[in-house]
Amino acid sequence: MSAFRSLSVAILKGYLRDKQAVFFTVFFPLMFLVLFGGIFSDQSQSKLELTQVGNVSLIDQMPQATRDAFDDAFEVTKVDDVQDALDRVRDGDSAVAVEQRGKEIVVHYSDADRVQSSVAQGTLQSFVQTANMAATGMVPMFTYTSERVEDESLQTIQFVTPGLLGWAIATSATFGAAATLVGWRSTKLLRRLRLAPVSTRSLVVARIGVTVLIAMVQMVIFVGLAVALFGLELAGSWWMAVPLLVCGTLSFMALGLLAGAVSNTVEGATSLANIFVLPMAFLSGSFFPLDGAPRWLDVVSHTLPLRYLNDGMLDVMVRGKGPEAALIPIAILLGFATVVLLIASRFFSWETD
């Protein structure tokens, strides 16, 4: 085996046998994916709860096409007693209760959840209008169709997969680089390797290679699981996520090297890496979208490499932008890696002392 290959194998085995590292870099983020994917995946399509009291001809006698649309919007529960229905609304089990008094459709709502109740009222009103229109036999002058800007299938899973993947890769690359540097230095392995006829380049390339390989495996697992279980739909130029991830890995390894270069113990290096990674993940929209974030947060997050990785991945993986959308994030990530590496090399020494 060549020196380069056996170094890579040694590093990879060291990683795979470190159960804690594997857990925190692969399974832990996956748990979040399952959590977000499972809990929130049907939120965007979630229906409004509606309680129907007795017979309501508006609902019961809808033409089939209208009825389908109605069922898309509402989850109907039938009760016979008005009081029951009101209780359900009061308890928040139902957004609205609907009752028919002669020709009058009465909607009971609670102010406790105004958003739900007003959405429900608005939607109901439009169904009443439609029914009135149909009753007059007039051909409507305007019809109304709404379409989302993004891919129609855009759901929570579409947003969280790239973000969580970005976080997972940031974690494994930063920690991997920090722990390797400090660990090898404190066990004197680094000095021992200086006395072996291996080039520094093969050492560095082997370490980067293994981290990139791990990142690719993470991507396959994440995207595979999201597609298989939670219905993630990849946009056309998703493959641009691969170079994005490679460059992201380089950036985060540079961060990890910096953490490793300035600290003397493995514990010190990993806590420093933690201080980098976790806030960065929050501020870069790995856990929640930053669309509604205040301006200052948006500004801060644009100083972080993970923000660019996440945005780039969202663009090519789910927002359906062309491959060129990844180019600017890639350039920024590479620039970041270079700058941080330069800083790290000022602190770097072969030995702990």
């Binding site: 056996s6 470190d18 066990t187 004197k188 392995l189 000095r191 006395l195 006829p197």
Partner: protein, 295 residues
């Protein structure tokens, strides 16, 4: 091999004008107490550190800056065992073998030679101190280097394990390999080395073969017997005795004429608990520094 090498850390003169040469195939020892500068000297020769002044020539070349043509010809065991994380003993030595471009068979052979083939599948974090030392020696030798540097290969081992390791170590230069080793132990240096440099506080006190060093001392032989066989005053009168002292466990006489002392003691019937101890490297250290040798 090295000439007038100096290295200071701040105010501390870790290596203060050390010069010596080691011949091909020689077993050379550097002996000294903690902080004597042994490791620093070795690291300068290996090319891990640059000397502040002086010159080093290793196999005819300069080891500093890092010389990748020299590296395959030397083997190094560092004072602290340096291994890859979470690899087994066999994986470690095979990885080192391939770093030097030699096959796995050589790795396996060395593993067997240091007696670790049954521990081949154990991760290094679960090996004992002695097993780690042996593995680290094996890793220094897998590529059959011409010169091998061993920094305290027997540190931290129990006496039995040390003796076992001596057998291995003394066989290392059988096929003409040069061995340079540092140690705390006088007996180890006496036992293994063709020549010994006794080092203290950054400089070399003595450099010669162990027997020559001891002979040059013209040191007294110590003869001791059980404490109450002979009165201290009588002991001073024994033929050939230069001095005598007694403590709870023994009565010790020093002499330059052990034969005379022995026959007189025999005449007096005072041979109970007899022990005879010749001078050792410890005595050399003692006479040269005026300090008792404490490793």
């Amino acid at each position: 091999m090295i000439d007038d090498v100096r290295k200071t850390y701040g105010d501390l003169r870790a290596v203060d004008g050390v010069s010596f040469g080691v011949g091909t195939g020689e077993f050379f020892g550097i002996l000294g107490p903690n902080g004597a500068g042994k490791t620093t000297t070795l690291e300068i020769i290996e090319g891990l550190r640059s000397p502040d002044s002086g010159s080093v020539s290793l196999l005819g070349r300069s080891p500093w800056p890092r010389n990748r043509e020299l590296l395959p010809r030397i083997g190094v065991q560092l004072q602290a065992s340096a291994f890859f994380e979470r690899l087994t003993a066999r994986e470690q030595i095979r990885t080192f073998a391939s770093l030097y471009g030699v096959g796995t068979t050589s790795g396996d052979a060395w593993l067997a030679r240091v007696g670790l083939d049954d521990k081949g599948d154990t991760q290094t974090s679960k090996l004992s101190g002695g097993q780690l030392q042996r593995l680290s020696i094996a890793c220094a030798l897998v590529h059959e280097p011409e010169v091998v540097f061993l920094d305290e290969p027997t540190a931290g081992l129990d006496p039995q394990a040390r003796r076992n390791l001596w057998d291995l170590l003394s066989s290392l230069n059988d096929d003409g390999r040069t061995v340079v080793l540092t140690t705390h132990y006088m007996d180890e240096a006496e036992m293994l080395c063709d020549r010994v440099a006794i080092m203290d506080k950054g400089s070399i006190l003595e450099l010669d073969s162990p027997t020559a060093l001891i002979r040059a001392l013209d040191a007294a032989v110590r003869i001791s017997i059980a404490p109450n066989v002979l009165a201290l005053a009588d002991a001073r009168q024994v033929d050939g005795v230069d001095a005598a002292s007694a403590d709870d466990s023994s009565l010790t006489m020093t002499t330059r004429d052990p034969a005379a002392v022995m026959s007189d003691l025999a005449r007096r019937g005072a041979l109970t608990g007899l022990q005879v101890r010749g001078a050792t490297l410890e005595d050399v250290f003692l006479t040269r520094t005026g300090r008792e040798y404490r490793a």
